[in-house]
C-alpha cells in the first residue's frame, strides 16, 4: 500500500501491478498460515500409527486409513453424530430466536435497564461453565431435562446467546434507521418493514450468529459429558477420551470432529456477506 505514494519514479501501471502483487502475496501468506496446521492434522490422521510417532515426520500423508476407520467401527458413533447435529441445530434456533429480537431492541430503543441487560449477557459468557454445570445438572435431574437433546441445547444456547445478541446488535446498529422509517412512510407496518428491509440486511449477522451457535455447541465437551448419558454428543463421546488415547487415534479423532463443523461453515459461508453495500457493485 505504501507504494501508492511513490508515484514519482514509476508509472501508474507499475504501481498497480506491484501493489497487486503484494496483495496476492499477502493473501497467499494468510491462507498458508491458516491451512498449514490443518494440513498437519490431516497428515497425521491419514498416516499409519508408525508414521505418526516417527521422526522426522512425513510432509505428505500416506493415506493409511487404519486410524480413521477405527472410529467408524466404534460403537455408537453414528448415533452420537446425529445427537450432535440435533443439539447444534436446536442451539442455533434458540440462540437466534432469543438473541436477534434482543439485539434489535438494544440497537433501536433507549430504555431503562438496557445496560443491565447488556451486562447480564456479557456475564453469561465471562463465567466459567464447568462451575455452572453442577447446579444446572441438579436442576435438570429434578425436572427431567437431564439426558435430553433439548436440555443440552438449552445449556449450549446459554453459551451462544451472548454471541447472537451482541452480533445482531452491532449489525442492526449499522443499518440506518432511516431505511426503516422510509419503509414505514411507504406504508409498511413495523413488522413488514422489519421483514422486507431490515432482515435481508441483517442476514450476515444472523448467519454469523448461526455459525457461532453451531460451532459452540459442536465443540462443547464439559456440559455434554455431564448432562448426556444415553444421548451422548459426538464431542462428549470422542473428545474427552482423545486426550489420553494413543497419538494416532488422537489425530484421527480430532480430524473427524473437525470435519462436520467445516462442512457446516462451508454451507453458510455465502450468507455472511451482506446483500447490500459491498454486494451491490
Amino acid at each position: 500500500m505504501t507504494t501508492a505514494t511513490d508515484t514519482v519514479s514509476v508509472t501508474r501501471d507499475e504501481v498497480r501491478s506491484a501493489s497487486k502483487w503484494l496483495f496476492v502475496a499477502g493473501v497467499v501468506m494468510l491462507c498458508i498460515w491458516v491451512l498449514l496446521p490443518i494440513y498437519f492434522l490431516m497428515i497425521n490422521a491419514l498416516s499409519s500409527p508408525e508414521e505418526v510417532t516417527s521422526f522426522p515426520k512425513r510432509m505428505f500423508p500416506s493415506f493409511d486409513l487404519a486410524s480413521v476407520t477405527f472410529f467408524f467401527k466404534f460403537q455408537g458413533v453414528l448415533r452420537a453424530l446425529w445427537n450432535s447435529v440435533q443439539v447444534a441445530s436446536l442451539t442455533m434456533i434458540l440462540a437466534i430466536g432469543l438473541g436477534a429480537p434482543a439485539g434489535y431492541a438494544l440497537s433501536r430503543f433507549d430504555f431503562r435497564g438496557k445496560e443491565a441487560f447488556r451486562f447480564l449477557v456479557i456475564m453469561t459468557r465471562a463465567f466459567p461453565l464447568p462451575l455452572l454445570a453442577l447446579p444446572l445438572a441438579i436442576m435438570f435431574i429434578r425436572t427431567g431435562l437431564d439426558d435430553t437433546i433439548l436440555g443440552l441445547a438449552l445449556v449450549h444456547a446459554t453459551l451462544a446467546l451472548p454471541f447472537a445478541v451482541l452480533i445482531t446488535f452491532s449489525l442492526f446498529s449499522g443499518i440506518p434507521v432511516e431505511l426503516e422509517e422510509a419503509a414505514w412512510t411507504l406504508g409498511c407496518t413495523r413488522i413488514q418493514a422489519f421483514y422486507k428491509v431490515i432482515l435481508p440486511l441483517a442476514l450476515p449477522g444472523i448467519a454469523a450468529s448461526a455459525v457461532f451457535a453451531f460451532v459452540i455447541s459442536w465443540n462443547e465437551v464439559f456440559a455434554a459429558a455431564v448432562l448426556t448419558i444415553q444421548n451422548r454428543t459426538l464431542t462428549a463421546f470422542l473428545l474427552q477420551s482423545l486426550d489420553v488415547s494413543p497419538l494416532p487415534l488422537k489425530f484421527a479423532g480430532g480430524a473427524m470432529l473437525v470435519l462436520p463443523a467445516l462442512i457446516f461453515i462451508f454451507a453458510v459461508r455465502k450468507y455472511l456477506f451482506a446483500m447490500w453495500g459491498i454486494a451491490n457493485r
Binding site: V34, A102, R125, P128, L161, G174, F212, N219, D243
Partner: protein
C-alpha cells in the same frame, strides 16, 4: 406500545438467561463467599495466598495483552481482504474461517504436533538441514518459547471469531462512501482509517468484547503446550474444583475471571463508544 416494545423483545432472552444462567450463577457466587456454612472471604483469602495465584493472573493477562491486539490487526486485515475481492471471495472467507470449526482441545493437539520435539517444526528444520538434532522447544527452561507457542496457537485458533464479525459488519458500509473518498484522492490507507474504521465501530466493539472475554477463559491450548509450566486462571479454577475438591476456592477464581472480564468490557465500551444515532 412502542415503550413496551423493547421490553417485549428482551423478555424471552432475559427469562431464558435468568433460568439457565443467573440462577446457577447466584448459587456458585454464594459458594464463593461461604466457608463451612457461614459467610466469609476465606475462599478469596486462600486463593490469593496460594503461591500460584499471582503467576496465573499475570500469565492470563499477559497472554491476552499479546494475543488480542495481534488478532485485532490480523482479523481487520483478513476482513478487508475478503470484502475487497470480487472473485473467489466466499472461498477465501471460508479458508479464513476454518479455525472457527476447531475446538480448543483439537487446536492444542495440532499445535503440540507442530512444536513437540518429534513434531513437524523439528522435522521441517531437520529436513532442510538447519538442525542436526531435534530441538526441544517446549522446555520449562525456555518460558518465552512456551509463551510464544501458546500465543501463536491462540492467534491461529481464535482470530476467525473476530474476522467473521468484522466481515459481516463491513458488508453494511455503503460502498459509495469509499468511492467518494477515492474520488477526492484518499489513499487506501486513508479510506480504511477515515471511512471503514469509524463505520465499523459497533462490530469492532462486539468482536473485541467477545474475544477479550474468551481470552480470559483460555485453557485447553495452554494445557496442551505449556503443561504445568504456564498456569492460567481457568486452569487453577479446574484444579481447585476437581482435583483439590474445594468448590469454594474454585468459585472464588470464577468470580475473579468474571470480574476482570467485566472490567475490560467496560473499558472497551468506553474506548469504542458508539454514539447514539451513529447509524450513518
Amino acid at each position: 406500545m412502542p415503550r413496551l416494545l423493547p421490553y417485549l423483545l428482551l423478555l424471552p432472552a432475559t427469562a431464558f438467561l435468568c433460568v439457565f444462567f443467573l440462577y446457577p450463577f447466584v448459587l456458585v457466587a454464594m459458594e464463593s463467599v461461604t466457608r463451612e456454612g457461614s459467610y466469609s472471604l476465606d475462599n478469596f483469602q486462600r486463593m490469593v495466598s496460594h503461591w500460584k495465584f499471582g503467576t496465573a493472573m499475570r500469565n492470563t493477562l499477559l497472554l491476552a495483552a499479546v494475543v488480542v491486539p495481534v488478532q485485532l490487526a490480523l482479523s481487520l486485515a483478513m476482513a478487508s481482504v475478503v470484502t475487497k475481492l470480487s472473485t473467489g471471495r466466499s472461498t477465501l472467507l471460508y479458508i479464513f474461517a476454518i479455525p472457527l470449526g476447531i475446538s480448543d482441545l483439537a487446536a492444542g493437539l495440532i499445535w503440540l504436533a507442530i512444536f513437540e520435539q518429534t513434531g513437524f517444526l523439528n522435522s521441517a528444520l531437520y529436513g532442510l538441514g538447519v538442525i542436526e538434532q531435534p530441538v526441544l522447544f517446549l522446555s520449562y527452561q525456555n518460558p518465552m518459547v512456551i509463551f510464544a507457542a501458546i500465543a501463536l496457537a491462540e492467534i491461529w485458533r481464535a482470530t476467525a471469531i473476530m474476522m467473521v464479525i468484522l466481515v459481516a459488519g463491513m458488508g453494511l458500509i455503503p460502498k459509495e462512501y469509499g468511492e467518494a473518498a477515492e474520488v477526492f484522492g484518499a489513499t487506501a490507507w486513508q479510506r480504511f482509517r477515515k471511512v471503514t474504521l469509524p463505520m465499523l465501530k459497533p462490530s469492532l466493539q462486539t468482536a473485541l468484547i467477545l474475544r477479550v472475554i474468551l481470552a480470559f477463559e483460555v485453557f485447553a491450548v495452554v494445557i496442551a503446550l505449556g503443561g504445568t509450566n504456564f498456569p492460567v486462571l481457568m486452569e487453577e479454577t479446574f484444579q481447585w474444583q476437581f482435583t483439590l475438591q474445594d468448590r469454594g476456592v474454585a468459585a472464588a477464581y470464577a468470580m475473579v475471571i468474571l470480574g476482570i472480564s467485566v472490567a475490560f468490557t467496560i473499558l472497551i465500551l468506553r474506548l469504542l463508544h458508539v454514539p447514539k444515532g451513529a447509524r450513518v
